[in-house]
């Protein structure tokens, strides 16, 4: 057992904790592992590391462990953990900080969850172009990217017939300003879409 522990390759990156704390404005050392975040999390059963484990891994500087778990992507940002934490740690904000690192460092991601950041990227490009979310365009772009042309097709037709889908994009006059906002904001953080 002890041999096994010594053989484990654990990479500790103390800068990682600081980076997360700085981006999120949180102090992870306040966590006493009461598990309330995990107990109330609607997505916990789909995570390979619970929110409480992620908080602990951040404390220990286990960057690999945190960024290779699916937790930050499976998190639905419902804010239940944040609301219930007795130590007032904004756990949803920690998840966000992890996602920010993903976008900044353009990290690899496993196949089963890659559609989630892909969707976020497509949505942001869509908003950057039109100034407002053009839903039909976004759905089409996602279908092309995932090659899932038939998913929700029947529902889409039904929604179309009910007049729920707006076929043409709507764009405010100041859409060029929106592009500028995107480019400047991402430049400050050294990110690309």
């Amino acid at each position: 057992m002890i041999k096994k522990i010594f053989k484990m390759k654990i990479k500790i990156d103390s800068g990682f904790r600081e980076e997360i704390e700085k981006d999120s404005g949180q102090n992870v050392n306040l966590c006493f592992q009461c598990m309330k975040c995990t107990a109330g999390c609607p997505m916990a059963d789909e995570m390979n590391a619970s929110p409480a484990r992620i908080v602990h891994a951040i404390r220990l500087g286990l960057k690999d462990k945190v960024l290779k778990s699916n937790t930050m992507w499976v998190c639905a940002s419902c804010q239940t953990c944040t609301t219930r934490c007795p130590q007032d740690i904004d756990i949803a904000e920690l998840m966000e900080a992890c996602r920010h690192i993903f976008f900044k460092e353009a990290l690899e991601i496993s196949d089963d969850i890659k559609v989630i950041p892909l969707f976020y990227r497509i949505a942001l490009k869509n908003i950057r172009t039109f100034g407002r979310m053009y839903e039909v365009g976004m759905i089409a772009a996602l279908k092309f990217a995932t090659r899932e042309f038939f998913k929700d097709l029947k529902l889409g037709v039904k929604m179309g017939l009910k007049g729920k889908l707006k076929i043409l994009p709507e764009s405010p006059k100041n859409r060029k300003e929106v592009k500028k906002i995107f480019d400047r904001a991402l430049e400050i953080e050294g990110k690309k879409l």
Binding site: V74, A76, C78, R132, M133, G163, E170, A185
Partner: protein, 290 residues
Amino acid sequence: MIYAYYPGCSLHSTASEYDASIKVVFKKLGLELHEVPEWICCGTTPAHSASRVLSAALPIKNLSIVEKENFTEVAVPCAACFQSLKSAVYETGHDEVLKQQVDKVIDYSYQGKVRIRHPLDILTNDVGIDKIKTFVKKPLKGLKIVCYYGCLLTRPPKVVAFDNTEYPETMDEILKVCKADVLDWSYKTDCCGASFALSRTDSVLKLTNLILENAKAIGADAIAVACPLCHANLDTRQDDIYKKYNARYDLPVFYFSQLMGLALGADIKELGLKKHIVDPLKLFKNTGLI
């Protein structure tokens, strides 16, 4: 009273019935909404996930447009936009560096003069339940409703500061005064999967199934919501849930403003009641409301 109006992207497309019914209700109550023509997307979950500066800059840009037009109150019916706007104000209020970055990105220093208001808040606190009572023309008698608030209207409380975070009641109160039979239930603020509608649909089916199951179990005829994402997930996924979980609910899902509009005497068409995937008209006919 005139409120600036920020509909958000959904209310101009998939949730156009929310937009229409909010306008009807406000008009009937003598409140004016002024839509700021240059509004842009608030960035929602994708912006929050990708960039801290962007997720603050897009909402603050919108608030700046409202501020420049000299409005002090903005009505925001979409729960996701509501939380995005509130959270941008909270974040920039607690982080001077972020505030300066946002100022630079949008070429304007937002003064913080605009209060972000959800229509539920306006109706309860500005109009008042007692006054709404006097406008009710067609009591929603016999309609058993559960109110579903979802995540972003009340969470996190430090940011949105709206109603009771675990057991909110503003929507319940409003529909009670419209004489609907509003039931207590367990899933008021549980998550529906929200932005996973397209990217992780199976999770949405799992979560919405729990919500619909509880609503049906306590005997509700329909669910009232105040968020376009909640509405989309609950209304459009009932066929998929039947296929996956073999549970048939047939529960119509309304925006609270549609039910309220009906009670205030508006007609089916102007409330967008024909746009639902689960047809609500059968229920109205059964209860004698139309």
